[in-house]
Symmetry: D2
Subunit: 243 residues, 4 copies
């Protein structure tokens, strides 16, 4: 279990191995170490910080994210559309900083496994640190080009977040079990078009592409309304199923 | 593992204990029973049916759904926004036909558990059949009014899909562990408003309401375009976190 | 001025040269003829029908629409994004049944003019009837292929609703006044891409493509919520301006 | 006709009574005065500026806008849903800086008229300057509280952009001709609810509320995709029709 501190404005802080210094004062490391979720600690300036058990979103938000990461909304749609669950085997590429990796590792649990491929060694190392930091032991990071082949077999999902997912369709097909899914995250519609063509050619079934828009609602004393600004686009999600 | 048959148009069929009769001919029960995912069976009219391992979405689509069920998109957002994962403890109300129950049970796996409350005995029985049919052993169905109290403690998520979620906020608070989430699914904006007020009063943090729109993209030879019709609204999702 | 009748359920009826026969009884032609907007007429069964001055949306909804027509939302965006107003000169192609033609003719008024090109004589004739029926005298229908050339000059807007708008970019450029707009309505993203390339090549400025989603809100006693079903896509609107 | 200058990056400049000074050099007033749309002028640094005929969107973008103004998308929907056209009579409140006023004045033309009510004298004066600057002669600005009454009769549209439109429903009803529309722009869903109740009570027909989302599409060499950021909400538009 990982702890996290939250100040009275809802701002969150990861806990390291040193005293926590904030604009609202500091809290001693020993005090933090001996606290439990639900406790309230005070800074030397008397400001209250709540101790919470960190959840995965806290962690991903606060970890080292040197490359762009997938938003929760898209991870949620992938989970629901491919029927992800505890105990599944997943292949992912590329790892990036590991946001999706951690989400998927947390989801499949100790009876499941995530194998994540990444070309670049620097990203693979950041991801390593991030995955370890969250305490996951069911993740294998592979600094390999996924185009050259997928070592695993009989997996439930191959998830692709890389520029040319169509180059991996055949490898994915070989790695998937019957009924398993390929899911790809691609910002451009041109990528959707090309990938769909290859999925059809390789006889995937249930081919489908969607986009997901999440809009936040503001509930204020003056009234209720959607927020003025929203994310208009992250990427399209394309799915195919091996028959 | 549950098997499913799919014809050449992508239509899927649950497998019962009898021969499968379809418009494209029948397949004998023995033949189905001895088949494995990946096999192709032929009807007496020579039409091909693929054997697939049923996944959760196949199952929920085909099971007995006598009351309205939550769409995958909303279950996905709940999963991602509350950081759901393998091994978690979840309280749900009401069960309805059990679509959300099965999704959540599948997600938390054998180290986790779902406790689902339902007022009406008829729904609880349908849900029982559906949950059993999917083979889940980590679900406890309770034919009880959740307003009268939640028996569980220290749970990760209380998920509410019932008309007056604000009546359950205090009970949920007592049931949740520190850092755990309440999530509610409500079709009307008026419900969002009232629930938010009560969540604030009960000192929940990270209070947030969103709506999720999923739009399907058609990739045809003529070109690529979003589908003409889409689901414009299911419900708002409101989240709060116990500190 | 054109009159229209509306029953107590909000259903509307165009007035012809004969008695009006409805499921709720009939009303004599003479009675209708001598009525004024605001009057209430009764059928022989005693049901009340309101007399309204028909507006353009009533008319377009009720007229002969043998081909697919542009929705008001898209006509509204075209109007606002190109700064349409009274007195302007517009070239349109193709006419179809004339829905956009009538909208534009009504908008530019007697000091303005709409020149509308249509390949197919049958559509051109339906449009003729529809335009006349609405009483517009500022519209010229031309049964001509717009690709072969636009006769007009110095126009404010060239509006294209046909499959290959890029074939008309040069002709449109010649027809437009400096500062005038080309606007195109295309269902497929592939069309947007190709048209944009040609607009850039022909040195149009302010090139922009948008899509417009309108969602209806239901205000009921039970609460307020967006409608369950909505139109997810009609077409993309692409704009360019002649400098 | 009003002229405008545009540099090679698409940035636009209103023309005053003096030399134009920009970061790319200056252009003499006489040279500007004697230019015509379509001409290209050069700054003393040799940079090219195109002369365009200003259209209404250029003007509204560049004029003095001290209070928040309605976006074109919403003005477009109002136009299309109420069947606005040349020659109509419109009552508006409040004027604000006059963006909607100018749009509507331009639309109804010299045979139509816009009567715009504004409580605050400072806004009324800014609007006066803005309306004059655009050269409209069919607009009457009234520094009056619209709740106290509407002087006009038999108008086609009463458009309300003020916090409590329900206070004006009766006055609007008296001012409207049979078949005319009330349209209101309100950011909060609570306002929609209240207004709808009053419209029903006052026997308006065709009562409808919508929201309009416009998403821009980026067409780049790398591919086509919706923009990352978009406007998630401006306001709801509510319509009612006098029978
Ligand atoms: C956008 S990032 C992935 C981000 C990640 N999904 C997350 O949420 O944190 C894409 C990654 O794919 C990697 N990549 C690209 N092509 C690859 C290939 N052929 N094999 C393995 N990794 C690849 C890139 O180096 C990059 O780190
Ligand atoms: C819309 S259904 C739930 C559907 C379910 N989420 C699914 O996806 O299948 C709502 C259910 O809540 C139940 N319910 C309402 N109030 C309740 C209460 N106080 N305690 C337990 N169940 C309740 C109703 O009987 C109904 O079956
Ligand atoms: C979708 S319809 C237009 C509908 C119309 N905008 C409305 O709202 O009623 C397209 C029309 O364009 C016409 N068309 C296609 N190519 C053309 C061309 N090169 N010149 C003129 N008309 C053309 C077709 O015959 C068809 O009637
Ligand atoms: C948001 S602004 C209008 C902006 C305008 N629609 C535009 O697009 O530029 C609302 C205006 O309504 C005015 N107002 C509020 N209540 C009013 C009333 N009862 N009578 C007249 N004006 C009023 C305010 O002073 C304010 O200037």
């Amino acid at each position: 279990m990982m702890k996290i501190l939250m100040n009275d404005k809802g701002k969150k802080f990861l806990i390291g191995t040193e005293d926590l210094h904030t604009e609202q004062g500091y809290i001693k490391q020993e005090e933090i170490a001996s606290s439990s979720p639900g406790d309230v600690l005070k800074t030397h300036m008397g400001r209250e910080f709540h101790v919470l058990e960190a959840n995965i979103n806290d962690y991903i938000q606060l970890m080292d994210r040197r490359c762009s990461i997938i938003l929760p909304k898209d991870l949620g749609i992938i989970t629901a559309y491919t029927g992800l669950g505890s105990g599944q085997q997943i292949v992912e590429a590329g790892t990036g900083a590991g946001a999706a990796t951690i989400f998927l590792g947390n989801l499949v649990g100790e009876n499941g496994h995530v194998f994540s491929y990444e070309l670049r060694e620097d990203f693979s190392q950041i991801a390593e640190k991030n995955v370890k930091g969250f305490g996951l032991e069911n993740v294998t990071l592979k600094c390999q080009d996924v185009v050259e082949g997928i070592d695993e077999e009989n997996v439930d999902l191959v998830f692709l977040d890389l520029p040319k997912p169509w180059e991996v369709v055949e490898q994915a097909r070989d790695a998937l079990k019957s009924g398993g899914y390929l899911a790809a995250y691609t910002p451009y519609i041109d990528q959707v078009k090309l990938l769909t063509r290859i999925l059809k050619k390789r006889k995937f079934s249930d081919i489908k592409s969607v986009e997901c828009l999440v809009r936040e609602i503001e509930v204020k004393d003056k009234g209720v309304r959607p927020k003025t600004r929203m994310t208009g686009h992250t990427a399209y999600l394309t799915f195919g199923r091996k028959v």
